[in-house]
């Protein structure tokens, strides 16, 4: 790969905490290597700011391998930036050229309040899982793993839904800040497997109720979530969620729902 360096202008959202108003701040970053990752470019900028006695920019990140789901930047109007099926940490600077201006914001949603700068609170996702995103099996109860054969095609589909990393890009990308793609991926993963079948009705009711309680918006079939999802979670999951939800409603499966 041809290597080059560039100078960039960054407009980054700065916000002291959840209660104070935020604003954009402009920074110049010099000699950025095309081989850096996007977050490494932020490392360079932060080191520069610390050297100048200024406060660095707070952002979430951890594995930097595209799997933990912690990184969460809204880059030039797109969740995780311009690359398809890519988290912010895997976006690399060869995407940009000398002189570019890049605008970076946090995920914006009522259910994801800003903690500081680009860092948001996504505990609402944990609470949605607590509402039913599991199979109720205690440790030690399991039968032999091969006693439950699962059609390969179903297992593969369940896996495709389970590939969700819970980053929240779907919410950030959605004009309604809906969490339907996240919730539907979990509902689909478990409802497609025999292990998840006994609880499928309560699960879908309870998880959707919790999603609404958290203040996420409604789904209006725009599809931005699927387009921006770094793991390629399909809109079919939402269709499946709707079927599961309707089925549970008409089947009286909501009796056990909380």
């Amino acid at each position: 790969m041809e290597h080059y360096t560039m100078n960039l202008t960054l407009k980054v959202w700065k916000q002291k905490n959840a209660n104070e108003r935020g604003r954009f701040e402009t920074y110049q970053v010099k000699n950025v290597s095309s081989e850096m990752s996007f977050l490494e470019m932020f490392d360079v900028l932060n080191e520069q700011l610390i050297a100048e006695g200024k406060e660095p920019i707070a952002f979430d990140h951890d594995c930097r391998e595209g799997i933990c789901g912690m990184c969460s930047m809204y880059i030039n109007g797109r969740a995780h930036g311009p690359w398809h099926h890519t988290t912010t940490c895997q976006l690399h600077m060869r995407e940009y050229k000398d002189g570019d201006t890049i605008v970076v914001e946090p995920w914006r949603a009522n259910a994801f309040p800003v903690i500081k700068d680009l860092v948001v609170d996504r505990q609402s996702f944990d609470r949605i899982i607590q509402a039913g995103g599991y199979v109720s099996v205690n440790t030690g109860n399991a039968v032999d793993a091969n006693a439950i054969p699962i059609e390969k095609h179903m297992a593969d589909e369940a896996f495709a839904s389970a590939a969700c990393i819970g980053c929240g890009a779907c919410v950030a990308a959605c004009p309604n800040a809906s969490a339907m793609l996240f919730v539907s991926a979990k509902v689909s993963h478990l409802s497609m497997l025999p292990q998840g079948s006994p609880e499928r009705k309560e699960r879908v009711m309870n998880m959707v109720n919790q999603m609404d309680k958290e203040g996420f918006g409604n789904c209006t079939n725009i599809g931005a979530c699927e387009a921006e999802c770094p793991k390629g979670i399909s809109l079919e999951n939402i269709a499946r969620l709707n079927r599961e939800y309707l089925g549970a409603m008409f089947d009286g499966g909501s009796q056990n729902a909380k």
Binding site: M1, K16, N17, E35, M36, S37, E40, E47, I50, A51, E55, P56, A58, D60, D62, R64, E65, G66, I67, C68, G69, W83, T86, Q90, H92, I115, K116, V119, Q123, F125, D126, I129, Q130, Y134, V135, S136, V137, N138, T139, G140, N141, A142, V143, D144, A145, N146, I148, P149, I150, K152, A155, D156, F159, A162, A163, I165, G166, H189, L193, Q195
Partner: protein
């Protein structure tokens, strides 16, 4: 203090069964009165917290990430071992045990490893019951693949994201317990000290990373599931936040540190591209199933890899180790890569890389597909196309990741790889019950030293984390707490809590008040360079002595010149990092001391003075067949305690994969 490993008497294969049948139990009413603190929510922590919550204990979990699901277990790619013998290829509990002991170069405890192998099958059952979507065959049954250091197929996997799927399984089980009120979870909290009362661990001081406030939490027992310390090298495959702080605080409060120098350098990582590099990315070991590793036969050959003809390539692993070929254990593969690069055969711009080539696999799979699909007289393009499709199904996400990072297409051009720090076999010393030398303080998963000896086999870390959490700690902790049922919860205004919190606050203030000129990151990089150069893949006496002096000097400089921006009582990642780097510096010194003490080569610990004529590790069993457990005695002062390793079943021999 004499180390007591508390290995039960009796035949190896009966020890754990006997222990489980005779250990003390806590009745359900009493469990509700007993509080347990779990630090870290990776596979070990999440599984322990879920299992203990199910039993009825009152559990609190803490993680520094924004959700328990983000712990770095999530990044494990390749798979999890289990002695299921579903492939009818000769696997058994004994063989998994034997492979693990041999893979660890005869530096692990037999009884622990046997227990690990015997619960391995239960782990797969449990995970499948939770809905973990492992890969399956067309008949609907589970699929297996091979991993390094073994000759059977016992690795279960979920594409290239086995860790994520297992962690989500454990996380879901954990969230269920949160919903049931048995577990309270604290995210964005970091443990900064253990609280000791009457010689027992009775709680922790944690910092709320959002507000900066210090909190006190009581527990009848404290479980450290805080992972490994590979980030002491700055560059590693660990997550950016992975750190030793919880384990190190426990060490300074009296928990011995076992075999700190045992570090695993993983052979297949994406090479460093420049000074800006913040972390390294692993390419799963599963790629060695089908990929072939080579360098040019000629030194300094600058041709493009596809222009180098077959006969001018050196498939050095296949040449040196015909029995295991590209699937030798990690330590062996890493050293072989370093040997070729040091000798001048490295590739790429930095010359610090070797090729991992899929061309042969594409052809092999392509031909199988052609025959499966009954295509007569298929042309080369069809074979290649079909072969690429098979490779894509098996390894697609890994290939994609490689392309995103390097900008090169691995379906067309061989991948460039180089070894990188990946895992630490060392950790807090624990007995058979996973208890550290502090009563009531346990260490699980990568945070302890116990099961992998001097080198861990691939797909065994996930196995150990879940074994410790789901199947070991529920029994062994109960055995301890059974004697603690009369202890009421201790209020956190107890002087021990006040004192511990004050000490933590003083240290934070001290760090903030240095107001020096050099960033935390810069100190971390400097530490990493010392460690990699002198305590990395190859070590020698001279280098280690230099490293110790350099680290001591670095520590002084850190405590007089580090610059931490921002305030204490706010979200301040630089302060979090400073706390961690300060501990890494102290740990780095101990690692060098341990490496210097161990005058032998074993597994991941390679002392240049101790090697065979053909460059293999040379153990000194008569002198070093022991676990080095270090006691903290004050700044730069550690006392060595030895736990002798007795092999009753396996007979240690020179490890050979030839």
């Amino acid at each position: 203090m004499a180390l007591n490993s508390k290995i039960p008497a009796g035949l190896l294969e009966e020890k754990w069964e006997k222990y489980k049948s005779t250990c003390k139990l806590v009745n359900p009413a009493n469990k509700r009165q007993l509080e347990v603190i779990v630090i870290g929510t990776g596979l070990a922590g999440a599984s322990a917290a879920a299992a203990l919550g199910e039993l009825g204990y009152k559990v609190k979990t803490f993680c520094f990430q924004d959700s328990p699901r983000r712990a770095h277990s999530i990044a494990a790619q390749g798979g999890i071992n289990a002695a299921k013998n579903y492939q009818n290829d000769g696997d058994s509990t004994y063989r998994l045990f034997y492979d693990t002991v041999k893979g660890g170069d005869y530096r692990a405890r037999e009884a622990n490893v046997y227990r690990l192998a015997s619960v391995s099958a239960n782990i797969i059952d449990q995970c499948v019951a939770q809905g973990v979507p492992f890969a399956r065959e067309y008949g609907g049954l589970l699929s297996n693949r091979s991993f390094g250091g073994t000759q059977v197929q016992r690795t279960f996997y979920a594409a290239g994201q086995t860790g994520q799927q297992l962690l989500i399984g454990a996380y879901q089980a954990l969230e269920r317990q949160v919903a049931l009120g048995n577990v309270t979870q604290y995210s964005r909290h970091e443990m900064l000290d253990v609280v000791m009362i009457d010689g027992k661990a009775r709680g922790v001081i944690v910092r709320n990373l959002v507000t900066g406030e210090l909190e006190r939490h009581f527990g009848h027992a404290v479980l450290l599931c805080s992972g490994g310390y590979g980030n002491v090298f700055y560059l590693s495959t660990n997550a950016m936040g992975s750190n030793v702080t919880a384990a190190w605080k426990a060490h300074k409060k009296g928990a011995f540190f076992g075999n700190p120098c045992y570090t695993q350098i993983h052979p297949t990582c994406i090479p460093v591209s420049g000074d800006h590099q913040s972390k390294l990315t692993l390419m799963s070991e599963s790629l060695r199933n089908d990929g072939r590793i080579w360098v040019p036969k000629a030194k300094g050959d600058n041709r493009k890899p596809n222009d180098i003809p077959e006969e001018e390539r050196d498939y050095y692993l296949e040449r040196r180790y015909p029995a295991f070929g590209n699937l030798v254990p990690r330590d062996v593969a890493s050293r072989a890569a370093k040997e070729r690069c040091d000798a001048g055969y490295g590739v790429g711009a930095s010359k610090q890389a070797v090729y991992l080539d899929y061309a042969a696999a594409v052809q092999r799979y392509g031909k199988i597909e052609v025959s499966k699909q009954g295509i007569a007289n298929a042309d080369a393009a069809t074979i290649t196309k079909l072969g690429k499709e098979v490779v894509k199904e098996k390894y697609g996400n890994l290939f994609e990741m490689y392309e995103k990072i390097t900008g090169e297409n691995p379906y067309e051009v061989p991948m460039r790889i180089y070894p990188a720090v990946h895992y630490t076999m060392g950790g807090l010393w624990v007995d058979y019950e996973l208890q550290t030398t502090i009563p009531g303080l346990y260490a699980l998963g990568e945070a302890n030293f116990s099961d992998h000896g001097a080198n861990r086999l691939g797909a065994s870390a996930l196995m150990q984390g879940l074994a410790d959490g789901y199947f070991v700690i529920p029994y062994t902790m109960g055995n301890y707490l059974a004697d603690d049922i009369r202890t009421k919860s201790i209020p956190t205004d107890h002087p021990a809590f006040v004192e511990a919190e004050n000490a933590v606050r003083d240290r934070i203030n001290q760090l903030m008040n240095i107001k020096g000129t050099e960033s935390v990151e810069s100190f971390h990089k400097r530490l990493g360079k010392i460690m990699w150069d002198k305590c990395g893949m190859a070590r020698n006496e001279k280098g280690l002595k230099e490293a110790i002096a350099e680290i001591q000097a670095l520590r002084k400089e850190f405590w007089s010149n580090v610059r931490i921006p921002g305030e204490v009582n706010e979200y301040n990642p630089e302060l979090d990092k400073a706390n961690r780097v300060a501990d890494f510096i102290e740990l780095g010194e101990l690692m060098c001391i341990d490496a210097l003490n161990r005058n032998e080569s074993c597994g991941g610990h390679f002392r240049e003075e101790y090697q065979t004529e053909d460059g293999e590790a040379l153990r000194q069993d008569d002198q070093y067949m022991y676990v080095a457990a270090w006691e903290y005695k004050g700044e730069s002062n550690f006392e060595l305690h030895k736990e002798d390793l007795n092999y009753e079943v396996v007979h240690p021999s020179a490890r050979s994969y030839k």
